[in-house]
Symmetry: C2
Subunit: 252 residues, 2 copies
Protein backbone atom coordinates (compact mmCIF):
# COMPACT_ATOMS: atom_id res chain seq x y z
CA UNK A 1 0.00 0.00 0.00
CA UNK A 2 1.15 3.51 -0.88
CA UNK A 3 1.71 6.16 1.74
CA UNK A 4 -1.15 8.56 2.32
CA UNK A 5 -0.86 11.35 -0.22
CA UNK A 6 1.28 9.38 -2.66
CA UNK A 7 0.45 9.88 -6.35
CA UNK A 8 0.77 6.98 -8.78
CA UNK A 9 0.24 7.23 -12.52
CA UNK A 10 -1.95 4.41 -13.80
CA UNK A 11 -1.06 4.72 -17.48
CA UNK A 12 1.05 6.59 -20.02
CA UNK A 13 -2.03 8.43 -21.15
CA UNK A 14 -3.78 8.81 -24.48
CA UNK A 15 -3.64 11.95 -26.61
CA UNK A 16 -6.75 12.71 -28.65
CA UNK A 17 -7.40 15.99 -30.48
CA UNK A 18 -4.51 17.57 -28.64
CA UNK A 19 -5.70 16.58 -25.16
CA UNK A 20 -3.55 14.18 -23.15
CA UNK A 21 -5.66 12.18 -20.69
CA UNK A 22 -3.93 10.28 -17.90
CA UNK A 23 -5.26 8.23 -15.02
CA UNK A 24 -3.75 8.48 -11.56
CA UNK A 25 -4.42 7.50 -7.98
CA UNK A 26 -3.63 9.26 -4.75
CA UNK A 27 -3.64 7.22 -1.57
CA UNK A 28 -6.32 8.71 0.63
CA UNK A 29 -6.86 8.42 4.38
CA UNK A 30 -9.84 6.09 3.93
CA UNK A 31 -9.38 4.56 0.48
CA UNK A 32 -7.63 5.07 -2.84
CA UNK A 33 -8.64 8.28 -4.61
CA UNK A 34 -9.02 7.71 -8.36
CA UNK A 35 -8.46 10.60 -10.73
CA UNK A 36 -7.92 11.79 -14.28
CA UNK A 37 -5.75 14.61 -15.61
CA UNK A 38 -6.47 16.35 -18.92
CA UNK A 39 -3.61 18.47 -20.20
CA UNK A 40 -1.81 19.74 -23.27
CA UNK A 41 0.68 17.11 -24.55
CA UNK A 42 3.41 19.03 -22.72
CA UNK A 43 2.78 21.02 -19.54
CA UNK A 44 5.08 24.06 -19.29
CA UNK A 45 6.50 24.60 -15.80
CA UNK A 46 4.44 27.04 -13.75
CA UNK A 47 1.15 26.23 -15.49
CA UNK A 48 -2.27 26.96 -13.98
CA UNK A 49 -4.42 24.07 -12.76
CA UNK A 50 -8.18 23.59 -12.44
CA UNK A 51 -9.80 21.03 -10.15
CA UNK A 52 -13.20 19.75 -11.28
CA UNK A 53 -15.95 18.40 -9.02
CA UNK A 54 -18.44 16.05 -10.71
CA UNK A 55 -22.18 15.87 -10.14
CA UNK A 56 -24.14 13.62 -7.78
CA UNK A 57 -24.25 9.96 -8.79
CA UNK A 58 -21.74 10.63 -11.58
CA UNK A 59 -17.99 10.05 -11.67
CA UNK A 60 -14.68 11.56 -12.76
CA UNK A 61 -15.25 10.81 -16.46
CA UNK A 62 -19.04 11.30 -16.69
CA UNK A 63 -20.48 12.93 -19.83
CA UNK A 64 -20.94 16.15 -17.85
CA UNK A 65 -17.30 16.17 -16.72
CA UNK A 66 -15.38 15.09 -19.81
CA UNK A 67 -16.20 18.19 -21.93
CA UNK A 68 -15.25 20.39 -18.99
CA UNK A 69 -11.85 18.75 -18.60
CA UNK A 70 -11.20 18.71 -22.32
CA UNK A 71 -12.63 22.21 -22.70
CA UNK A 72 -10.13 23.78 -20.29
CA UNK A 73 -7.32 22.31 -22.40
CA UNK A 74 -8.81 22.99 -25.83
CA UNK A 75 -10.21 26.47 -25.17
CA UNK A 76 -7.57 27.77 -22.77
CA UNK A 77 -4.56 25.41 -22.74
CA UNK A 78 -5.15 24.83 -19.03
CA UNK A 79 -4.69 21.47 -17.29
CA UNK A 80 -7.70 20.10 -15.40
CA UNK A 81 -8.12 17.24 -12.94
CA UNK A 82 -11.19 15.35 -11.73
CA UNK A 83 -11.41 12.68 -9.03
CA UNK A 84 -14.19 10.33 -8.04
CA UNK A 85 -16.06 11.79 -5.07
CA UNK A 86 -16.37 9.62 -1.93
CA UNK A 87 -18.54 6.61 -2.72
CA UNK A 88 -18.68 7.47 -6.42
CA UNK A 89 -17.15 5.98 -9.58
CA UNK A 90 -14.36 3.55 -8.73
CA UNK A 91 -14.75 4.40 -5.03
CA UNK A 92 -18.08 2.72 -4.39
CA UNK A 93 -20.00 2.87 -7.59
CA UNK A 94 -22.92 5.09 -6.58
CA UNK A 95 -24.79 5.68 -9.81
CA UNK A 96 -27.53 8.25 -9.87
CA UNK A 97 -29.60 9.42 -6.94
CA UNK A 98 -29.95 6.04 -5.30
CA UNK A 99 -30.51 5.31 -1.59
CA UNK A 100 -26.69 4.86 -1.40
CA UNK A 101 -26.27 8.40 -2.72
CA UNK A 102 -28.59 9.88 -0.10
CA UNK A 103 -26.91 7.80 2.59
CA UNK A 104 -23.62 9.50 1.70
CA UNK A 105 -25.30 12.88 2.13
CA UNK A 106 -27.13 11.99 5.35
CA UNK A 107 -24.62 14.18 7.19
CA UNK A 108 -23.27 16.78 4.81
CA UNK A 109 -20.58 17.74 7.31
CA UNK A 110 -19.05 14.28 7.09
CA UNK A 111 -19.40 14.04 3.30
CA UNK A 112 -17.93 17.47 2.60
CA UNK A 113 -15.17 17.04 5.19
CA UNK A 114 -14.18 13.74 3.56
CA UNK A 115 -14.30 15.24 0.09
CA UNK A 116 -12.29 18.28 1.14
CA UNK A 117 -9.68 16.08 2.84
CA UNK A 118 -9.39 14.00 -0.36
CA UNK A 119 -8.94 17.07 -2.50
CA UNK A 120 -6.33 18.52 -0.17
CA UNK A 121 -4.23 15.36 -0.55
CA UNK A 122 -4.72 15.41 -4.32
CA UNK A 123 -3.80 19.08 -4.65
CA UNK A 124 -0.74 18.62 -2.44
CA UNK A 125 0.33 15.69 -4.63
CA UNK A 126 -0.31 17.56 -7.89
CA UNK A 127 1.62 20.62 -6.75
CA UNK A 128 4.36 18.25 -5.60
CA UNK A 129 4.93 17.32 -9.24
CA UNK A 130 6.49 20.75 -9.73
CA UNK A 131 4.47 21.35 -12.90
CA UNK A 132 1.96 23.87 -11.61
CA UNK A 133 1.98 27.36 -10.17
CA UNK A 134 0.49 27.08 -6.66
CA UNK A 135 -0.70 30.68 -7.00
CA UNK A 136 -2.89 29.80 -10.01
CA UNK A 137 -5.29 27.07 -8.98
CA UNK A 138 -9.03 27.18 -9.68
CA UNK A 139 -12.17 25.18 -8.95
CA UNK A 140 -15.00 24.22 -11.29
CA UNK A 141 -17.96 22.22 -9.99
CA UNK A 142 -21.69 22.27 -10.61
CA UNK A 143 -24.48 20.51 -8.69
CA UNK A 144 -22.76 18.04 -6.28
CA UNK A 145 -19.57 19.66 -7.59
CA UNK A 146 -20.82 22.71 -5.68
CA UNK A 147 -22.32 20.82 -2.73
CA UNK A 148 -18.76 19.63 -2.23
CA UNK A 149 -17.15 22.62 -3.93
CA UNK A 150 -18.57 25.38 -1.76
CA UNK A 151 -17.25 23.94 1.54
CA UNK A 152 -14.05 22.97 -0.28
CA UNK A 153 -13.47 26.41 -1.77
CA UNK A 154 -14.26 27.98 1.61
CA UNK A 155 -11.63 25.78 3.27
CA UNK A 156 -8.86 25.81 0.63
CA UNK A 157 -6.87 29.06 0.55
CA UNK A 158 -4.98 28.04 -2.59
CA UNK A 159 -7.98 28.63 -4.90
CA UNK A 160 -7.86 31.92 -6.79
CA UNK A 161 -11.18 31.57 -8.64
CA UNK A 162 -14.21 29.29 -8.73
CA UNK A 163 -17.06 28.33 -11.06
CA UNK A 164 -20.02 27.14 -8.99
CA UNK A 165 -23.73 26.57 -9.50
CA UNK A 166 -26.67 24.22 -10.17
CA UNK A 167 -27.03 24.20 -6.43
CA UNK A 168 -29.00 25.84 -3.64
CA UNK A 169 -29.60 26.17 0.06
CA UNK A 170 -32.44 23.70 -0.32
CA UNK A 171 -31.82 20.45 -2.17
CA UNK A 172 -34.07 18.29 -4.29
CA UNK A 173 -35.13 16.04 -1.47
CA UNK A 174 -35.80 16.17 2.28
CA UNK A 175 -33.27 13.32 2.57
CA UNK A 176 -30.52 15.82 1.83
CA UNK A 177 -30.30 16.46 5.54
CA UNK A 178 -28.13 19.34 6.67
CA UNK A 179 -26.55 20.19 3.29
CA UNK A 180 -28.30 23.55 3.09
CA UNK A 181 -26.97 24.61 6.47
CA UNK A 182 -23.44 23.45 5.64
CA UNK A 183 -23.53 25.24 2.29
CA UNK A 184 -24.86 28.48 3.72
CA UNK A 185 -22.12 28.59 6.35
CA UNK A 186 -19.43 27.85 3.78
CA UNK A 187 -20.72 30.34 1.18
CA UNK A 188 -20.29 33.15 3.69
CA UNK A 189 -16.58 32.32 3.87
CA UNK A 190 -15.91 32.47 0.12
CA UNK A 191 -14.22 35.69 -0.95
CA UNK A 192 -12.46 34.81 -4.23
CA UNK A 193 -13.89 35.74 -7.65
CA UNK A 194 -16.85 33.48 -8.50
CA UNK A 195 -19.02 32.77 -11.49
CA UNK A 196 -22.27 31.12 -10.42
CA UNK A 197 -24.32 29.37 -13.09
CA UNK A 198 -27.92 28.34 -12.58
CA UNK A 199 -30.70 26.82 -14.64
CA UNK A 200 -33.83 28.94 -14.40
CA UNK A 201 -36.15 25.93 -14.32
CA UNK A 202 -33.97 23.67 -12.16
CA UNK A 203 -36.21 20.90 -10.86
CA UNK A 204 -33.68 19.76 -8.27
CA UNK A 205 -32.74 23.03 -6.61
CA UNK A 206 -35.64 25.51 -6.38
CA UNK A 207 -34.80 28.82 -8.02
CA UNK A 208 -35.19 30.85 -4.84
CA UNK A 209 -32.80 28.54 -3.00
CA UNK A 210 -30.23 28.79 -5.80
CA UNK A 211 -30.50 32.60 -5.72
CA UNK A 212 -30.29 32.59 -1.91
CA UNK A 213 -27.06 30.61 -2.03
CA UNK A 214 -25.57 33.01 -4.60
CA UNK A 215 -26.58 35.88 -2.35
CA UNK A 216 -24.69 34.33 0.58
CA UNK A 217 -21.37 34.05 -1.26
CA UNK A 218 -19.24 36.76 0.32
CA UNK A 219 -17.07 37.49 -2.73
CA UNK A 220 -17.33 41.13 -3.80
CA UNK A 221 -16.38 39.97 -7.30
CA UNK A 222 -19.13 37.54 -8.27
CA UNK A 223 -21.59 37.18 -11.11
CA UNK A 224 -24.63 34.98 -11.73
CA UNK A 225 -25.59 33.66 -15.16
CA UNK A 226 -29.01 32.02 -15.53
CA UNK A 227 -30.26 30.10 -18.56
CA UNK A 228 -33.67 28.57 -19.18
CA UNK A 229 -34.14 24.84 -18.78
CA UNK A 230 -33.90 21.98 -16.32
CA UNK A 231 -31.01 20.99 -14.03
CA UNK A 232 -29.35 18.88 -16.70
CA UNK A 233 -29.83 21.32 -19.56
CA UNK A 234 -27.13 23.96 -19.07
CA UNK A 235 -26.29 25.22 -22.56
CA UNK A 236 -22.77 25.27 -23.96
CA UNK A 237 -22.90 29.08 -23.55
CA UNK A 238 -23.05 28.68 -19.76
CA UNK A 239 -20.39 26.01 -19.59
CA UNK A 240 -18.07 28.03 -21.80
CA UNK A 241 -18.67 31.19 -19.77
CA UNK A 242 -17.66 29.26 -16.64
CA UNK A 243 -14.46 27.97 -18.20
CA UNK A 244 -13.63 31.36 -19.71
CA UNK A 245 -14.05 33.14 -16.39
CA UNK A 246 -11.88 30.66 -14.49
CA UNK A 247 -9.25 30.69 -17.23
CA UNK A 248 -9.05 34.49 -17.35
CA UNK A 249 -8.29 34.61 -13.64
CA UNK A 250 -5.65 31.92 -13.86
CA UNK A 251 -3.92 33.40 -16.89
CA UNK A 252 -3.43 36.79 -15.31
Amino acid sequence: MANVGELTWRDEGVTENGVLERGFTVQGARDVITGIMWSPPTIPAGSPLVLIGHGGGAHKRAPTVLPTGQGFVLEHGITAVAIDAPGHGERGGVQGRTPEYYALWKDARVMTANATADWKLVLDALLGLGWFDPARVGWSGMSMGSLIGIPHVAAEPRFKVAALGLCGTRGDTPDRGNAGEVLAEAAKKITIPVIYLIQWDDERFPRESALALYDLIASPDKRLHAHPGAHGEMPLEGRMAGRWFVAQHLKA
Copy 2:
Protein backbone atom coordinates in the same frame (compact mmCIF):
# COMPACT_ATOMS: atom_id res chain seq x y z
CA MET B 1 -41.25 72.06 -41.22
CA ALA B 2 -40.14 68.66 -42.49
CA ASN B 3 -42.62 65.90 -43.33
CA VAL B 4 -43.29 63.39 -40.60
CA GLY B 5 -40.61 60.70 -40.80
CA GLU B 6 -38.10 62.86 -42.71
CA LEU B 7 -34.47 62.45 -41.64
CA THR B 8 -32.14 65.45 -41.67
CA TRP B 9 -28.43 65.35 -40.90
CA ARG B 10 -27.41 68.11 -38.52
CA ASP B 11 -23.69 67.97 -39.17
CA GLU B 12 -20.93 66.29 -41.15
CA GLY B 13 -19.92 64.42 -38.06
CA VAL B 14 -16.71 64.06 -36.12
CA THR B 15 -14.45 61.02 -36.21
CA GLU B 16 -12.60 60.21 -33.01
CA ASN B 17 -10.68 56.98 -32.34
CA GLY B 18 -12.26 55.45 -35.41
CA VAL B 19 -15.84 56.25 -34.42
CA LEU B 20 -17.81 58.64 -36.63
CA GLU B 21 -20.48 60.48 -34.63
CA ARG B 22 -23.21 62.34 -36.47
CA GLY B 23 -26.28 64.23 -35.28
CA PHE B 24 -29.61 63.91 -37.02
CA THR B 25 -33.26 64.71 -36.59
CA VAL B 26 -36.36 62.85 -37.66
CA GLN B 27 -39.61 64.77 -37.79
CA GLY B 28 -41.93 63.09 -35.31
CA ALA B 29 -45.71 63.22 -35.04
CA ARG B 30 -45.57 65.44 -31.94
CA ASP B 31 -42.16 67.12 -32.13
CA VAL B 32 -38.71 66.81 -33.66
CA ILE B 33 -36.88 63.64 -32.63
CA THR B 34 -33.20 64.34 -31.98
CA GLY B 35 -30.66 61.58 -32.49
CA ILE B 36 -27.03 60.54 -32.80
CA MET B 37 -25.45 57.87 -34.97
CA TRP B 38 -22.12 56.23 -34.07
CA SER B 39 -20.57 54.27 -36.92
CA PRO B 40 -17.35 53.19 -38.56
CA PRO B 41 -16.00 55.96 -40.87
CA THR B 42 -17.58 54.06 -43.77
CA ILE B 43 -20.71 51.94 -43.45
CA PRO B 44 -20.67 49.00 -45.85
CA ALA B 45 -24.04 48.37 -47.54
CA GLY B 46 -26.13 45.77 -45.72
CA SER B 47 -24.64 46.53 -42.30
CA PRO B 48 -26.34 45.63 -39.02
CA LEU B 49 -27.82 48.37 -36.85
CA VAL B 50 -28.42 48.69 -33.11
CA LEU B 51 -30.91 51.09 -31.55
CA ILE B 52 -30.06 52.28 -28.03
CA GLY B 53 -32.57 53.43 -25.41
CA HIS B 54 -31.16 55.73 -22.72
CA GLY B 55 -31.98 55.75 -19.01
CA GLY B 56 -34.55 57.83 -17.14
CA GLY B 57 -33.69 61.52 -16.84
CA ALA B 58 -30.72 61.05 -19.15
CA HIS B 59 -30.39 61.79 -22.88
CA LYS B 60 -29.01 60.44 -26.15
CA ARG B 61 -25.41 61.30 -25.30
CA ALA B 62 -25.40 60.69 -21.55
CA PRO B 63 -22.31 59.12 -19.94
CA THR B 64 -24.19 55.81 -19.72
CA VAL B 65 -25.06 55.89 -23.44
CA LEU B 66 -21.89 57.16 -25.10
CA PRO B 67 -19.70 54.12 -24.25
CA THR B 68 -22.48 51.84 -25.49
CA GLY B 69 -22.70 53.61 -28.83
CA GLN B 70 -18.95 53.81 -29.22
CA GLY B 71 -18.54 50.28 -27.90
CA PHE B 72 -20.70 48.73 -30.62
CA VAL B 73 -18.47 50.38 -33.21
CA LEU B 74 -15.12 49.76 -31.51
CA GLU B 75 -15.74 46.22 -30.30
CA HIS B 76 -17.91 44.92 -33.15
CA GLY B 77 -17.82 47.40 -36.07
CA ILE B 78 -21.58 47.81 -35.71
CA THR B 79 -23.44 51.12 -36.17
CA ALA B 80 -25.57 52.30 -33.25
CA VAL B 81 -28.17 55.04 -32.89
CA ALA B 82 -29.66 56.77 -29.85
CA ILE B 83 -32.47 59.30 -29.71
CA ASP B 84 -33.75 61.51 -26.94
CA ALA B 85 -36.77 59.88 -25.33
CA PRO B 86 -40.01 61.90 -25.15
CA GLY B 87 -39.49 64.85 -22.83
CA HIS B 88 -35.78 64.11 -22.46
CA GLY B 89 -32.60 65.78 -23.72
CA GLU B 90 -33.34 68.27 -26.48
CA ARG B 91 -37.02 67.28 -26.36
CA GLY B 92 -37.96 68.82 -23.04
CA GLY B 93 -34.90 68.68 -20.89
CA VAL B 94 -36.02 66.34 -18.13
CA GLN B 95 -32.92 65.78 -16.06
CA GLY B 96 -32.92 63.12 -13.39
CA ARG B 97 -35.93 61.74 -11.58
CA THR B 98 -37.73 65.04 -11.22
CA PRO B 99 -41.48 65.60 -10.91
CA GLU B 100 -41.44 66.20 -14.69
CA TYR B 101 -39.96 62.75 -15.16
CA TYR B 102 -42.66 61.07 -13.09
CA ALA B 103 -45.31 63.12 -14.86
CA LEU B 104 -44.12 61.60 -18.16
CA TRP B 105 -44.54 58.13 -16.63
CA LYS B 106 -47.91 58.81 -15.00
CA ASP B 107 -49.48 56.67 -17.71
CA ALA B 108 -46.90 54.23 -18.98
CA ARG B 109 -49.18 53.27 -21.87
CA VAL B 110 -48.99 56.80 -23.27
CA MET B 111 -45.27 57.16 -22.63
CA THR B 112 -44.31 53.83 -24.19
CA ALA B 113 -46.73 54.27 -27.11
CA ASN B 114 -45.18 57.66 -27.87
CA ALA B 115 -41.66 56.30 -27.56
CA THR B 116 -42.46 53.30 -29.75
CA ALA B 117 -44.05 55.54 -32.39
CA ASP B 118 -40.93 57.74 -32.37
CA TRP B 119 -38.63 54.77 -32.80
CA LYS B 120 -40.73 53.34 -35.62
CA LEU B 121 -40.34 56.59 -37.56
CA VAL B 122 -36.62 56.67 -36.81
CA LEU B 123 -36.06 53.05 -37.84
CA ASP B 124 -38.08 53.55 -41.03
CA ALA B 125 -35.95 56.60 -41.84
CA LEU B 126 -32.65 54.83 -41.04
CA LEU B 127 -33.55 51.80 -43.15
CA GLY B 128 -34.62 54.23 -45.89
CA LEU B 129 -30.97 55.32 -46.18
CA GLY B 130 -30.25 51.98 -47.82
CA TRP B 131 -27.20 51.42 -45.61
CA PHE B 132 -28.55 48.77 -43.28
CA ASP B 133 -29.83 45.22 -43.53
CA PRO B 134 -33.45 45.32 -42.28
CA ALA B 135 -33.02 41.69 -41.19
CA ARG B 136 -30.21 42.61 -38.78
CA VAL B 137 -31.53 45.21 -36.36
CA GLY B 138 -31.08 44.97 -32.59
CA TRP B 139 -32.11 46.80 -29.41
CA SER B 140 -30.00 47.74 -26.41
CA GLY B 141 -31.57 49.59 -23.48
CA MET B 142 -31.21 49.40 -19.71
CA SER B 143 -33.37 51.00 -16.99
CA MET B 144 -35.75 53.42 -18.78
CA GLY B 145 -34.18 51.96 -21.93
CA SER B 146 -36.04 48.81 -20.92
CA LEU B 147 -39.15 50.53 -19.57
CA ILE B 148 -39.46 51.83 -23.11
CA GLY B 149 -37.54 48.99 -24.70
CA ILE B 150 -39.68 46.08 -23.54
CA PRO B 151 -42.93 47.45 -25.02
CA HIS B 152 -40.95 48.60 -28.05
CA VAL B 153 -39.28 45.24 -28.67
CA ALA B 154 -42.64 43.52 -28.16
CA ALA B 155 -44.20 45.75 -30.83
CA GLU B 156 -41.39 45.92 -33.41
CA PRO B 157 -41.03 42.76 -35.50
CA ARG B 158 -37.81 43.99 -37.13
CA PHE B 159 -35.71 43.38 -34.01
CA LYS B 160 -33.69 40.17 -34.10
CA VAL B 161 -32.08 40.46 -30.66
CA ALA B 162 -32.28 42.62 -27.55
CA ALA B 163 -30.19 43.56 -24.52
CA LEU B 164 -32.51 44.54 -21.65
CA GLY B 165 -32.28 45.00 -17.90
CA LEU B 166 -31.90 47.25 -14.83
CA CYS B 167 -35.66 47.11 -14.74
CA GLY B 168 -38.50 45.28 -13.03
CA THR B 169 -42.24 44.78 -12.71
CA ARG B 170 -42.13 47.15 -9.74
CA GLY B 171 -40.38 50.49 -10.09
CA ASP B 172 -38.53 52.65 -7.63
CA THR B 173 -41.53 54.77 -6.68
CA PRO B 174 -45.27 54.46 -6.27
CA ASP B 175 -45.51 57.36 -8.73
CA ARG B 176 -44.42 54.99 -11.48
CA GLY B 177 -48.13 54.23 -11.99
CA ASN B 178 -48.98 51.40 -14.37
CA ALA B 179 -45.48 50.75 -15.73
CA GLY B 180 -45.25 47.33 -14.09
CA GLU B 181 -48.48 46.19 -15.71
CA VAL B 182 -47.47 47.53 -19.12
CA LEU B 183 -44.05 45.86 -18.86
CA ALA B 184 -45.44 42.52 -17.75
CA GLU B 185 -47.88 42.43 -20.67
CA ALA B 186 -45.17 43.36 -23.14
CA ALA B 187 -42.56 40.94 -21.77
CA LYS B 188 -44.91 38.05 -22.48
CA LYS B 189 -44.88 39.01 -26.17
CA ILE B 190 -41.09 39.04 -26.58
CA THR B 191 -39.79 35.93 -28.31
CA ILE B 192 -36.43 37.00 -29.80
CA PRO B 193 -33.08 36.15 -28.18
CA VAL B 194 -32.54 38.32 -25.10
CA ILE B 195 -29.72 39.07 -22.70
CA TYR B 196 -31.07 40.55 -19.47
CA LEU B 197 -28.62 42.32 -17.17
CA ILE B 198 -29.40 43.18 -13.57
CA GLN B 199 -27.60 44.64 -10.60
CA TRP B 200 -27.96 42.40 -7.57
CA ASP B 201 -28.33 45.31 -5.16
CA ASP B 202 -30.42 47.58 -7.40
CA GLU B 203 -31.99 50.20 -5.14
CA ARG B 204 -34.45 51.35 -7.80
CA PHE B 205 -35.91 48.06 -8.97
CA PRO B 206 -36.22 45.45 -6.20
CA ARG B 207 -34.39 42.26 -7.04
CA GLU B 208 -37.52 40.09 -6.96
CA SER B 209 -39.29 42.41 -9.38
CA ALA B 210 -36.31 42.37 -11.76
CA LEU B 211 -36.25 38.55 -11.63
CA ALA B 212 -40.03 38.43 -12.10
CA LEU B 213 -39.77 40.54 -15.25
CA TYR B 214 -37.02 38.31 -16.64
CA ASP B 215 -39.20 35.31 -15.90
CA LEU B 216 -42.06 36.82 -17.93
CA ILE B 217 -40.01 37.31 -21.09
CA ALA B 218 -41.35 34.62 -23.43
CA SER B 219 -38.14 34.10 -25.41
CA PRO B 220 -36.94 30.50 -25.22
CA ASP B 221 -33.43 31.82 -25.88
CA LYS B 222 -32.75 34.17 -22.98
CA ARG B 223 -30.10 34.53 -20.31
CA LEU B 224 -29.76 36.65 -17.17
CA HIS B 225 -26.46 38.05 -15.91
CA ALA B 226 -26.38 39.57 -12.41
CA HIS B 227 -23.54 41.55 -10.90
CA PRO B 228 -23.20 42.96 -7.39
CA GLY B 229 -23.80 46.64 -6.83
CA ALA B 230 -26.33 49.41 -7.13
CA HIS B 231 -28.47 50.44 -10.11
CA GLY B 232 -25.81 52.70 -11.53
CA GLU B 233 -22.86 50.38 -10.93
CA MET B 234 -23.07 47.83 -13.75
CA PRO B 235 -19.49 46.74 -14.40
CA LEU B 236 -17.86 46.87 -17.81
CA GLU B 237 -18.11 43.08 -17.85
CA GLY B 238 -21.91 43.32 -17.95
CA ARG B 239 -22.01 46.08 -20.53
CA MET B 240 -19.57 44.23 -22.76
CA ALA B 241 -21.52 40.97 -22.41
CA GLY B 242 -24.63 42.83 -23.57
CA ARG B 243 -22.91 44.29 -26.62
CA TRP B 244 -21.21 41.00 -27.45
CA PHE B 245 -24.48 39.09 -27.31
CA VAL B 246 -26.33 41.57 -29.52
CA ALA B 247 -23.41 41.75 -31.95
CA GLN B 248 -23.13 37.96 -32.29
CA HIS B 249 -26.78 37.73 -33.29
CA LEU B 250 -26.48 40.53 -35.82
CA LYS B 251 -23.28 39.24 -37.40
CA ALA B 252 -24.64 35.77 -38.12
